[in-house]
Symmetry: D2
Subunit: 258 residues, 4 copies
């Protein structure tokens, strides 16, 4: 039985003439006064960010909005073809693949960094910690979250720029430092080029902003929703979906397997 004494949500409440989100009066305190990114802080943390915090989170969110033709945008476009009356279903279809392989890797790096660092003293040796994290992953034959990119090699320019912005705004602390050290350790240990990618950078930076690693994947969802709506808009003007279907069907038609 649900214990109704603790069964409650504190995110919002309404009366006939007011809406409150957390402790803010939506109409008087927020509308016309805060940006959407500031509203992310209000909703998730119950307070407004500093200008520096807003700038850093804006950069992380902007970085993930749009990457052109991806599995996610293909799923959205091809779903919209069959159900144009349900734009929300097309956007949802595009979000559903943001799992362990793409975008959800933000969560992989954020959890890795948080689990390694959150209970360590301030003077803990980060280089040794980075080595231990990399060794642990290699022992389990797991990839290092946040490293590797098929196109942006040897450096992902987005990660580099995001770290600069974090630095400029005083948000480059021990999580960012550990991510960089893990990157160096992994390249050294494997002898391979493993670019520190945008999701690795964002995983570290959202921890610097004080967000919980368990919801870090959510920032990718926020950004990609915007990009997926843009893909639907382009699809309305210049459709690809039927061409995708025809191309894939033609290429995949059964014949002799070599």
């Amino acid at each position: 039985v649900a214990d109704t004494s603790t069964f409650r949500s504190d995110l919002a409440r309404s009366t006939a003439t007011t809406v409150h989100v957390r402790d803010f009066d939506l109409c008087n305190d927020l509308l016309g006064k805060v940006t959407l990114t500031e509203m992310v802080f209000v909703t998730m943390k119950g307070k407004l960010p500093s200008a520096a915090e807003a700038r850093v989170l804006d950069a992380c969110l902007v970085a993930l909005v749009e990457h052109g033709i991806t599995p996610s945008s293909i799923a959205t476009r091809i779903t919209y073809l069959g159900a144009p009356e349900s734009m929300q279903a097309a956007v949802a279809a595009g979000l559903l693949g943001l799992g362990s392989v793409f975008v959800g890797t933000i969560e992989g790096s954020a959890r890795m960094l948080y689990d390694a660092l959150n209970d360590k003293p301030a003077d803990h040796d980060l280089a040794a910690l980075a080595d231990a994290v990399v060794e642990g992953l290699i022992a389990k034959r797991q990839p290092v979250p946040g490293l590797g990119h098929p196109v942006h090699r040897p450096i992902d320019p987005r990660a580099q720029r995001l770290f600069e912005i974090a630095e400029e705004n005083g948000k480059s602390g021990r999580y960012v430092q550990l991510m960089r050290l893990i990157h160096a350790a992994a390249e050294r240990r494997t002898g391979r080029v493993l670019p520190l990618n945008a999701t690795g950078a964002i995983g570290a930076i959202v921890l610097e902003l004080g967000f919980d690693p368990r919801i870090s994947r959510g920032f990718g969802l926020m950004s990609r929703t915007i990009g997926l709506v843009a893909h639907i808009y382009e699809e309305l003007q210049h459709p690809l979906a039927r061409g995708i279907w025809e191309m894939v069907e033609r290429e995949a038609q059964p014949g002799e397997r070599p």
Copy 2:
């Protein structure tokens, strides 16, 4: 067969060292320089908004982020209970109900206003047009999109504030005017209190900002994705989902139907 000469997407392109979104260099022109809301304009329109435009769209987006316990947040929480490893699926579940009844009504009002007004000359009599729109809907026994609210009566304070913000920023034109006239005509014609709600206001305002009515529902999706991530975060700290299940199951158990 897909005509590959026209089969293309212009939203983004990458090289090893650059990412472009539309004609903007992501790392040099956008990261650290634009807000997430400005990025909405970049992605959808290929250009940066004026400060006034950004302020007005920010207000529309902020207004829709969070409404507490709704069908949408219930669906997200109860889905997360069964598949906590797939946060994206829980958020997608919450978006799927943003159809013709909730939030998708932005599209209903935007299409109504656009279809009525987009081919009319600048001096067209808006009051007569509003009457015609209302009569047409009543004749088809359809509700007027953007009107009505169960709690915010007789006035939805969010709609009122959003119209003020549009006005202050020079974005209150003929679409807003027509929405207000339709509201007045509908209340006069039916003799009922029909609050002009937030989705009605936003439907009008996004037309003032030059967006296509066919993707207007997408603004609701952008905002709600943020709110749904916040619900998952609250669920992690203070879970409701199992209590929802138990409460509904207990209340709905079969017995004698009266």
Copy 3:
């Protein structure tokens, strides 16, 4: 406030030692005794079908299971690529496009037939009714649901076979007759070849079986879920998703628009 006196579900109930679905004891009456298709009748209607009814519904469901590379199976495969840990999300992505354009057309034809016929006397002139339905749709510039196919022309062999099976099992009544007459009227009226397709046949036949047209789209969902799981299984053995992504991205890369 929910009226808990009428707030109830009668589909299933459990005790420590029993599960009932409708009025059937799951373990003693159903498991090992009924087929999945018979279970569809149990769940939807609360009673077992006759052998003829089961055979006819089996045929309708079997017809829709698998159609190779379609928008639906593309969405499932490309979603599975990013989130292999969430097979349910990949299947859901494939279902989301089964809307007004594909498969959901079962509902279009079922509603058309039901709305035209359900309140007519048994001796109503079906040929005149068919003409009126076609004229009505043409006047509204709407296509006739259940007609048309890009490949199966001039006849969809599945529709033909399904009508034979319905006939052999005594389930070819006035809804099937009206669908055939609408088909003839539409071809005569437009002078075009408009094959009566599988979804048109199934829309008519599920009405003959006494199902509500409002849930007729659901039969397509049941069948396609099976097919989408099969696509994931083939994807595991012989992956296409990454190839789809690469092919689409390569073909769609920005360049000069002709």
Copy 4:
């Protein structure tokens, strides 16, 4: 670049007058001749099942169709409330929560059994293997998949009946035996009552039927899609969704946290 020489799907192919699913002519070999469950074998394995195999899979699928008010059916009903025009979205929402906690546990048990047994010789000591599996899970502080149920205690009657049906049909082999031994070992080792539940039984039985453990969760999706359509049908006749919303919102409204 996709290697188009191996880029292909063999599930179905069509000509103007024929549809083939695997090597079967849909119209001549399948429609009117096979049940939906037999079609599962055709699609997944490319061949028809024996009568015994069909009976056993029918039982597994029938067992999972309907469990009344669950997180899954709540998600479907509450999504349908907002988007009644998109039944497929409501069903998809209900599937999205079938992850690691509910139903997806079929996959947990199937993988556990398969990983333990598939490379062992026919005379391997199953009791010792069961002990080792249980010790391994306890060492990793993980629960044993397929064990435990809040209501069906000490025995899940569905699991018991499914094992009987498998036995009667000659499909109770070493995977079923191992699942039973793991159950006994876990209860002995923990001293707790841990009912072997329906998903545990089904995980073992689908391995006996020769299915790949990686798609075993798919059987749950097939069944639940049917149940979710039935929930939408009941919702149309006797709606719960608005009542669920009102009940949850009322109970969860912010106040003093104790």
